[in-house]
Symmetry: C2
Subunit: 186 residues, 2 copies
DNA sequence: GACGTATTTCTCAAATATGAGACATGAGTT
DNA sequence: AACTCATGTCTCATATTTGAGAAATACGTC
């Protein structure tokens, strides 16, 4: 196995584990990644280094998916739908990225690259929402903040449903979009 | 301060902390509860004991709120709305209770009191949902599982929105019910 | 103001988590 | 078969977390 593969495998495992339990011992990450703790430490100096790589990875992957969704159309509604699917596709990467940046402990710093990315996503999203509200395509009495919170929540729900496997994989996205779009008054 | 007050204060703090970070050091719980770690240990034998007390507390509180909601009416729709509000009122207690019982690691045991309670809530909820679907009051093409997942997610969203304070406190419940009810095709 | 109880402070031993060196192993390359 | 590179194994030092004893202190009550 290529060494960048291993590194990525560890990062993916870490994101999955830390998303559920941020202070979980690195042993669990190693276990999930099917490597030794010793190997993990060869790739990442320490816990903090690993977390930073996770953040970077999430930032890059989420940005990529989200901008693809944005570019998929000029119609805000289509963009929004594809952004929802993009979030679901990113899975834990999206969930954790959001969680970490909306935590209380996390004090925001616009100079930080990941924070800037989060801001950018937020702004993109906000402008689409406002446009839809102005056009009267979605409810005007909901706040943009609530709509964003709901957006993340529905993605979480979908990701969770997929991982539990309680719902047919191909139905999840349809359900998610149905519930979200109706939920914002479409 | 009464000693049961202190115990409860610690449990509440623990639920809030563990909900966000399950393996967080007990120091953080003590800090949140505004007591010394030494005091915490006088009330709880060890970490596991504390977690068990948290589970028990969540189980009792959630059951109480949920059964009140159930008894508030015989109309499924009113029951459902009040169950949503009940969940939001329980805050982290509801979120964490759900999280813990729907985790992968957690293997379910119907003999366990808390698990039984979770099952009971689930069944209650399920029967209401099915009734509404039969009556044609909500969409029939969504599965009960998805509706439950969405229910929990919307509660999480509301709880989070309240704790962040990004949305006026009295609006949150209205938004949540609006989005949830529309989201299930009402 | 004395008394009992809860809590804090200080301290320390045990348990667990972290990080890394030294060497063995094993798969793939030439 | 000799070589390389990634990974595993075994080991150990250090750091952090955990749990509890002992004495000091705060707090309400009588």
């Amino acid at each position: 196995m290529n060494n960048t593969d291993t590194q990525q495998k560890i990062i993916d495992a870490a994101i999955a584990i830390f998303n559920e339990d941020f202070s979980a011992p690195l042993e669990k990450v190693a276990e999930k990644a099917a490597v030794t703790r010793r190997t993990l430490h060869r790739y990442f100096k320490d816990r903090n280094d690993l977390v930073m790589h996770c953040e970077r990875d999430m930032q890059v992957k989420c940005r990529k998916s989200m901008s693809e969704a944005m570019n998929s159309s000029t119609a805000p509604l289509v963009q929004l739908e594809n952004m929802l699917y993009a979030g679901i596709n990113c899975g834990a990467k999206y969930s954790f990225f959001n969680k970490i940046h909306s935590r209380h402990e996390h004090q925001h710093n616009a100079n930080n690259e990941a924070c800037a990315e989060y801001d950018a996503m937020y702004e993109n999203y906000k402008s689409i929402t406002l446009q839809l509200q102005e056009n009267g395509q979605i409810s005007r009495h909901l706040t943009v903040e609530w709509i964003l919170t709901l957006f993340s929540s529905v993605i979480n729900a979908a990701v969770q449903a997929e991982s539990i496997g309680s719902i047919a994989r191909n139905s999840v996205k349809k359900f998610a979009w149905y519930s979200f779009s109706k939920g914002i008054g479409m």
